[in-house]
Amino acid sequence: MTFVEESAGALLFAALSQGVKYGREVGVIPSIATGTRIDTEDIVTLVSAAAVDKLGEFRRVGKLMEAGSGGLSYSVGKIVSKLWVKAIAGV
């Protein structure tokens, strides 16, 4: 079922995002603070989700494609959310 697999992909990439965020907080991963709340974890999640999506598409692996697609939606949603917070509240 597509929805379940895409949601699982979103959860996987949420875990990746939290892991990268923790690494950034303890100083293992560098920060690329942008002036908004968008930071390393958002960019890493977006790029890796897009890469997984395209890999699944080119190799014709349905599950990989769906997981990447869910992760892409999740990471775009998070970035757009942070941009809206910056636009409305200025933080």
């Binding site: 597509t2 929805f3 895409e6 949601s7 992909g9 979103a10 959860l11 990439f13 949420a14 875990a15 995002s17 939290q18 999506d53 395209k54 598409e57 080119f58 697609s69 869910g70 992760g71 892409l72 939606s73 999740y74 990471s75 775009v76 949603g77 998070k78 970035i79 757009v80 959310s81 942070k82 941009l83 809206w84 917070v85 636009a87 409305i88 509240a89 933080v91």
Partner: protein
Amino acid sequence: MAVISKRDLLDVAGGAAAGTIDGVLKGIFNKDPAYWTGRFPYISAPIDSPLYIIPSLDDWLVLVGSGLVWFAGRSIRNADLTYIGLKAMVSSIGMLADAVVERARTYASRLAYISRQAAKPAAPSAPKPVAAAPVITPTRVSTY
């Protein structure tokens, strides 16, 4: 095969839809956190409770809003809108998971702080203040 297909654009549109709902709600809260704390829709369990790890109501409203987009697409039989709604729901599920992890970390760090405070040795007691001398007021003493 195009590098960016229509499916990719719809994925991004779904995520942007969920992100817009979430961002507007969070932006309103962050504009005046003191006013909005505890008010609808920013309702959650108190930080002392283990139920604090459940995301607040505004995070669930993102899922509801995304579901409404999906339902609208189904109702008017628009495949693209249905797909965008589905992607927005997927995105909001990811953001809910994010909120659970963030809140669990906050709760755990608070518990750790409380246990550190409880384990701290008691500070040496301060010297007792010298009792003030009793005030003697002259009274008339009866001689009878």
